[in-house]
Symmetry: D2
Subunit: 304 residues, 4 copies
């Protein structure tokens, strides 16, 4: 299949249309982004990838990092992870405290903020130098040593992260964070502030399409079974209260971030990343959703 | 792949083990079932199917009917359906009224009781003889004219269906049922009381694995796109608050019923149905879950 | 204190002002009322009462009946009542199912719909002829044999009472209704459809201001302790999610109905009833609230 | 009425009985208290007061301070206060985040933790030296210059106050705290750590029984109307999800603290404070509840 032609044609369509979305405004540093940025990159396992638009420009991947946090923690701790969180869809928005209180500090799944905070707590306990080590892990996945944290964005999030602080303190009150809340939040805000281009992002998720192995380096990151399970979690939990919408319209496991990025994986075939900062009402990139919907239609590549 | 050998071997393993589950007791007529019944049938698109155990004995498919209700209504009304319900996972148990009240009588998805009741209301408006016509539809999918309602079970459900009555009246209070509550409930209780064997059940779901076409008769039931969407909904919403668990461990779109049946679909490849009346704490067949988990591991056939 | 002068003066003020409220529309028969009706009657324990406006015209007392249901049931069963319901404020609107589901069919208090339905169930078990006997009880309190049910309104409520049906079936599903739901609802809808004038209403509540004894007949209805407890429940639970507002601004135990009536009790001193059909956003009579607020200010008669 | 005889007799009864309660353990410094401490003091407006047990020993008044915070803020800001919080019972436990999230950071009432945190925020903006000035206010009410904060307890609360931190950050995320969360929490933890004896506590609440005037100094603290409103709020909101229980069994406006103190007010007549550290399941002093229940029965002094 000629993916290059397809994403070019779809991008052409999408860029012509009006985008009713809005750039995320709750983090001042993120709000500064040019709202018209657009980039997409598709990376088949066994072919060269190809991209359209600003596909080498770095942006803040935000919640997409949660999948990478999960991959790292799951690799280290295996099924023990599920003593500290579940893997059920939440049916609620990404930062709700309601469910967390009813369920006594056990996050519904690793891909909501509460779950990612617990993953950060776990990695602080497991990694000698959490920030450095985690960055090293991401660089290895992407086969790219230039990936780094954007300190300005991390700081901006810390200054305005009242809801995340509330979530972290609530988890702490139930005893499900071992480390000091400030330390967990600092790590979390950094992880959210990782910057990648759509090209590196697609590349870093390719191991999830390839049974757990980074195709370029042949390094096994996770077992086949764990890889499938992460894909399953992305499918059911990757889009907060729009998980059903994404499964319904796109039909691939994926994850979005408020920076306007979305990444999706077609197991056995390809990974794809798209970036467009304007978000729909549910907080997912408006054009990103459209692109992926049309991509899976055009290539008949939904997993369903 | 020799599916027959595989399901025989797995069944042998599973039948040896202790089953901590319990038969559903809230419908007296269902509670009378022999708890040790066991049957499984797998039906590849392009091969003969094969089964193990009581695979020709009929049982009450219960909530599995919801998928068939959805297929029938979706075929008639298309995307208009989503004005009356959503397609997001509920994150709650199958009969919760909480979410329904907060969301003003719009069910989260078609596979919870509230959603199925609205589907019944829609079909009452669309079909000249709802009960007969719906049964005709199911017989066509299964290519089996002996499928029918179990009137005793329908009656038993009606007598004890207080929660479903509460749900129906709540939806009615928000104006999302057009027909009299009693009529909707009567149709609903009948639909739940359809009886099939695992063989007919697997056969009747095969069109969902085959892009919307019944393989044997070549009849198109739904478009490819609608078929995929139903599979996506099964994936994210088919197991109530255990949807994540099923995606995680089995990795196929599927649907369970309190009668102890589970059906799952591997798009492009096969459908499979299993029956074992003892349920786990979440209300899904204990052995059925185990069988499917081992089946997808052994055949490496999860969609992820 | 010259109560007559005071209520005349306040009524004069209130009737001059604009009333932004709306007549309850969900029961068609209630919506037919002339929205400008107004009547108030105050009945001191040891003086003649006096009234202003249409104080002899009967209207539908609706939820005010719940206090009378409570008085009757509490007199028969005493503290056993609290095995079937609580006496805590609900913090929610009068017809919410959310709390009821979380709390497994045990209503928060007797003055929300759920609680009153359980009271009806209890009285069906306790009274030989529930409707007649309950009416007899109310007539005795009011010393007025003309009080009766408005069958048209009872019927209108039954036809449109979907939310109440949902609540009743939900309670039934938890086993906290013993009698058939239809029978309980029929009794409940009749009880809501009792008609009284503000004069008879004030008179019928006077025993609550008088330690449990009907002043005119000297008949003891309830012990002093039970009487105080009913007043306490009216104070904390009598106005749904506006209970705090009423305590704050009026400062008396009281109860409102969607027919536009409100009754309040100043223990040891008087009872007062007011009727004006236009309701504020919380479902309580707009002018009734104003009248009582000004009455307790003018007479310095709040219990606080 | 000879209150001294009455509280002596009741105390004698209560001290003989088994106390199934438990000392609050979530603040280590509070858990160190001798669980068998007991003191009660009743202060009529126009008589000398009298006490039983350790009535001059200071203890941590904890949440009782919330009423004093309210009195101070209400005196300064009047009805503007209600733009930042409500005055409805919450129907939930004192530290729930659920309602706060649904209601967008506007606390239900001033006597739950969320409300008191907003009061602290308001006083930080209104008082030149918040801690000193508030202490001065309390000393004035109690006519006692020795009242002070227990720094050790304030510190212990700060170290373990994860739930309060979560609540404060959640309110902040909705914009309903103006000052830095740390500053608000520090003030709040100090206010909770005020120490008084039952004698000073009863004395400091006597202005609420006396129409807003401190009897001894004749100083007017609040208008009559504001005083009544605070009493009404105590009545409906003073005991979290046991507010109905207290109204039902005691029948006076009051407030409890996890330190084991309870204070109650009989408008126009007396105030009373009791201290016994073992708490019932709802977090209110077990013996304190008993004492007050028997006191209002014996003196026939409920407001209902």
């Amino acid at each position: 299949m000629n993916y290059c032609d397809i994403i070019e044609r779809i991008s052409y369509d999408i860029l012509e249309k009006n985008d009713p979305g809005n750039v995320a405004s709750y983090i001042p540093e993120l709000a500064k982004i040019n709202p018209d940025k657009y980039g997409v990159f598709i990376k088949p396992i066994d072919q060269e990838g190809c991209g359209v638009g600003s596909c080498h420009e770095k942006f803040s991947i935000q919640s997409i990092s949660k999948v990478l946090l999960l991959a790292k923690s799951y690799g280290i701790h295996g099924e023990l992870l599920w003593k500290r969180m579940g893997y059920e869809p939440s049916g609620d928005s990404f930062n709700s405290l309601v469910q967390l209180e009813y369920e006594k500090g056990i996050p519904r799944n690793p891909l909501i903020n509460a779950g990612a905070l617990v993953l950060c707590d776990i990695l602080i306990d497991s990694l000698p130098k959490p920030k450095d080590d985690f960055l090293g892990f991401v660089r290895k996945l992407a086969v790219d040593d230039t990936i780094s944290y954007n300190e300005k964005i991390a700081e901006s999030e810390a200054k305005n992260g009242y809801t995340n602080s509330a979530i972290a303190y609530l988890i702490k009150s139930f005893g499900n964070l071992k480390n000091p809340v400030e330390e967990v939040l600092d790590f979390y805000f950094h992880v959210c502030a990782i910057e990648m281009s759509v090209e590196t992002l697609a590349t870093s998720f390719l191991f999830l399409a390839n049974g757990g192995i980074v195709p370029k380096t042949k390094e096994r990151i996770l077992s086949l079974s764990k890889t499938k399970r992460i894909n399953a979690i992305m499918q059911t939990c990757g889009f907060y209260d729009e998980a059903g919408e994404f499964a319904f319209k796109v039909g691939l496991p994926g994850k979005s971030g408020v920076g306007g990025g979305i990444v999706a994986v077609h197991p056995g075939i390809y990974s794809v990343a798209v970036w467009s900062p304007k978000l729909n009402k549910k907080g997912n990139s408006y054009k990103g959703m459209k692109l992926l919907e049309q991509l899976t239609s055009a290539t008949d590549s939904s997993i369903f």
